[in-house]
Symmetry: C2
Subunit: 356 residues, 2 copies
């Protein structure tokens, strides 16, 4: 009633000032749960970057309350918290939910899959968003890319890996799908909480571990113990994600939905850019402070064995489930096309000036 009266006043005002309108504006507070702990660099900065953009663009009509894992106590339960409506939004990684929603894992990254930029092209132009919607919609959720770590490193190894035989019996921390692939080659795969990783490596409980890349590895100190830092194969472009409960989304007027969509999209790209920067800074510093750290790539024989094991496991998943097959095929076909372009552009360029 009050609103109705005011919109008539607004209408009169528009006529009077030509370029002004008067609108009654509802505000919304979005509760967001993140997987990460408080003050988590890069990963934790991303939902805050998103929130800052959305709050400012909406003139304060969108507000956010972001809870870290110390608050909600469920770092790997974000999917359930948002599905159940305890939170409106989440910032997490799809592949943490292999148990409850198996087909989600492909939207983070896949061993021997696309690098970040190729994967953004797949999400936004190659059918990726539509497939992600197929997976999440039945749970009453919307999902959006939430930031890329860049190409993750293969990990820190106390000893060199010169052949497939060197992997047999190796004790290594490497979770998720990559862990399953490693198991196929005889690696004794373990998962150890982050806080205990350094001492596990130091005491020899594990011989190797995979974490993220220089930007996030540096503070963990692994380079003080394990001297061989291998390039990766297992997470060529790990994309975290925003989850939104569809009921929250549907409550928002069109302009706030667009503000949220664009803020998430920009924050995701921004995280990839920040990861690139911080990785460069950290790797530079690591080499300076610890000159005995040696960068290595796995020999072709090892790469080939890892790839065969990956293909075997993906084929098994594709066999079991129709939607899994659709996603795996879409990613494989898209990669085949876009990689030809990557090869004659950035790869050819970087190789032709190999002095750097």
């Amino acid at each position: 009633m009050i609103l109705q009266k005011l919109s008539r006043i607004a209408f009169v005002l528009v006529l009077a000032t030509a370029s002004s309108s008067l609108v009654a504006q509802e505000t919304f507070t979005i509760r967001l749960a993140e997987t990460w702990g408080p003050n988590s660099p890069i990963l934790g900065e991303t939902p805050r970057n998103m929130a800052a953009m959305a709050e400012k663009m909406s003139g304060g009509r969108l507000k956010f309350r972001i809870d870290s894992s110390n608050k909600h106590k469920a770092p790997f339960g974000i999917f359930d918290l948002v599905k159940g409506g305890q939170y409106d939004m989440g910032h997490t990684a799809s592949y943490y939910y292999k148990g409850s929603i198996p087909n989600a894992m492909y939207f983070t990254t896949v061993p021997f899959g696309m690098i970040a930029q190729e994967q953004y092209a797949w999400f936004y132009h190659g059918g990726g968003m539509e497939l992600m919607e197929k997976v999440y919609r039945p749970h009453g959720l919307l999902s959006f890319p939430g930031g890329n770590t860049g190409n993750q490193m293969g990990g820190w190894f106390r000893d060199e890996i010169e052949s497939v035989d060197d992997l047999d019996g190796l004790k290594m921390r490497t979770p998720g799908f990559a862990g399953e692939v490693m198991s196929e080659l005889g690696v004794a795969v373990t998962n150890i909480p982050p806080g205990e990783l350094y001492s596990a490596l130091e005491k020899g409980t594990i011989d190797a571990l995979e974490w993220v890349g220089p930007a996030l590895d540096f503070n963990m100190g692994f380079h003080q113990i394990a001297k061989y830092y291998y390039s990766g194969w297992q997470e060529p472009g790990a994309e975290v994600q925003f989850l939104i409960n569809k009921k929250t989304w549907d409550k928002l007027p069109a302009e706030l939905q667009e503000i949220l969509r664009v803020s998430m999209r920009t924050a995701a790209y921004d995280m990839y850019t920040q990861s690139t920067h911080e990785s460069g800074v950290a790797w530079d510093r690591m080499k300076e402070d610890y000159p005995d750290v040696t960068h290595k790539t796995f020999p072709p024989e090892v790469i080939e064995a890892l790839r065969e094991a990956t293909n075997k496991l993906l084929a098994e998943e594709a066999e079991k489930d129709e939607l899994a097959r659709e996603i795996i095929n879409s990613q494989r076909d898209y990669l085949k096309q876009v990689r030809q372009w990557t090869n004659i552009s950035d790869k050819a360029y970087l190789n032709s000036i190999s002095g750097e």
Copy 2:
């Protein structure tokens, strides 16, 4: 006076409805001039993507009138049109204005410089934005990244280039700084309007030409004449730009400034993603329809000569002008750091799975 009265009414309403506010909202129409012709793919889609986001997020308070080059008749005069206030915004490329604002050219791309992702890291975390502001602010302009073409190809050649001698006397269309570098090696550099390029190549008026990459080269048809398609060295990550007249910017309220900033930033990233996609599609189709098109990379001897000539010309520019020196040094130092990371991540990964 009317506004003052209404904000008091608005205040009362906020108290009454708890989560609503009432705001008098001015609308703005932004006139944007683009370098590109009407319906220009990718490049022309980018300011429209920006405008669509900004209009929707602002609930119609920001509106855009975009004029293509057929309208304003000054494809390479966007800098002057926005500086002079005939337009509020422009979408163009910094390196077109080497004549009137020489230090602008470094913000598009530099031969043997950073690839797109490295360059975004430099813009947003390595001091690039601050240097760009130093260059444009004295002209009453703000400048923002406006979209990346990805790594541009070295061009279409009728004959193979096997040595530096093969460049001597070669007639080639390649504009800008890359043209100057080519001249140093004896190339007879010419510039020819886009509409006449195909027939110039066909008639032998030129032996080679450089355009963009598969996505934009395909419709030009060069692959029907010149069979050797070389990887690039001259524009490893060409970023176009948005220009805004500072007087227009200052008129906007804070939330509309943020909407404009974020829309430009997202549209820029989006263009890079679209370029990646379209390049993959076009290169795939080109190879299928024209199997005699051969991809080549310049031999190391040629790359080395091009790099030496590039360094010589950059050193001359740095010698002449203090701000040029500051920009060149910033880009060189940043590249040195970030490239080490690119080398152990994407480059090492792409090389280790070289079967693709």
